[in-house]
Symmetry: C2
Subunit: 288 residues, 2 copies
Amino acid sequence: MSRNPNLVLTQARAPLTRLTEVMDEQGEWREQALACERPLTLYLNKREIVTLMTLGEDPEALVLGYLRNQGLIDKLDDLLAIQVDWEVEAAAIVTSHTPADIEEILSKRTVTTGCGQGTVFGNQMEKLRQISLDAWTLKQSQIYQLLHTLNQHNETYKNAGAVHGCAICTPDGRVLSFCEDIGRHNAVDTLAGRLWLEGIPSEGNIFYTTGRLTSEMVIKAAQMGISVLLSRSGATEMGLQIAEQLGMLMLARAKGKHFLVYCGQNRLLLDDKPAPLLKSSKRRESNE
Amino acid sequence: MSRNPNLVLTQARAPLTRLTEVMDEQGEWREQALACERPLTLYLNKREIVTLMTLGEDPEALVLGYLRNQGLIDKLDDLLAIQVDWEVEAAAIVTSHTPADIEEILSKRTVTTGCGQGTVFGNQMEKLRQISLDAWTLKQSQIYQLLHTLNQHNETYKNAGAVHGCAICTPDGRVLSFCEDIGRHNAVDTLAGRLWLEGIPSEGNIFYTTGRLTSEMVIKAAQMGISVLLSRSGATEMGLQIAEQLGMLMLARAKGKHFLVYCGQNRLLLDDKPAPLLKSSKRRESNE
């Protein structure tokens, strides 16, 4: 990891699931894993910023990605410490300077549709317009390879349900980073934080999520310089609108050999069409 | 409706879906419905409160339920007007007085795990401890009747996916109110607002959701005086913890004849056990 050598960073990964006893419809009792959910209050240079509800898989990366995506940290060199202490449910972040416009950034509260944290402060849309994304071509065969590889992830989901998975993947099918959280916004912020900390460029990669592509998910992917979106679930009108404006390739309802391309169709090469079914199988997006 | 007769209220229900052209994995094009997602900024007596991202099914009820659940409106008699104008994406709410502690309420930002809006301001947990809920007994047969009735709802979901449904139902299987929104928090706030406006008591009823029972969903149901929770999806550890503390009956993963009781098992009468399957069918909660 090409981290700032002086950076003080805890590694406060928390237990992700807990077992409980549940009763089923027959009156039989069994053990059931539950996804954990815990509050984490962020203090940037002692200023309270927000309380996130999180699974706790990688809280330092979550905190960093959140602050970056909110425009509260611009340069990794400014970061001096992230210290997460679950005893007091707090993350203390120290930077060499606080953004001059912090009060303005914090004064706008946009609460989006997203699972998990969803607060995009007001100045994000303006910054988005300055982003220019590479319009590279994806192959259908690459999608299938990737979906196959991703099947091996989602550990907490397989164990306990109630979480979303997100990943940054290369076009040749490698999963650079995978993260689960109660909310898909936390998961994508964590990925952003991790890649930033480790000095891995996110540009030119694919953003995968088990959750819906709402406006904020599309925005967060664009903030990472990513122009290909792949979701197991659906998309909203506004998610699509932003993706179109930014020239993204947006694929949704991707399961098995199926997918739907919502925009950027000209960036997809159909090199691996599956044999058509005699009768189209019934598909229904999960109510994510 | 037993509304305040002087109340000024728009009825700004917006179009819920829009058609778009998508391409599938065979390169074939088709029409696909998309759930709409639009910002709505709330101004309480001209003070900007928050921007919610919403489907727009019943924005006035959403606004009212949101303000009530945040502790920003306590009495319906105080409410003078809710005027929603999609042209400017704003809701102007006028009340006869602004709460004295509004700055304190707004200074705390807790962003929860929930789809949709998720911001619970800081004083909610304290108020919760004052709630006492009725511990009435539910019958298994009532659950099955209700799940059957609820199958007829979820219109936007059936059409476009990407939304959550929530409902308030009576123990005898009537759906008092059903609402869909991009986020489950918006849906439950809308239900709270509707019932309050129409003078229908929510106490003694059942809260149903297609989404997960995270902490905030449990809190919002408790705020409505509801002590039975029924979800098609799962629950988080913190959702369960709060439900246990409040003596709620929490049922999750309810589909067909299956369900799991997470707490309050002694409040459920198993009067309609299904014939056990020879081989238990594989069940997996949807990644909501």
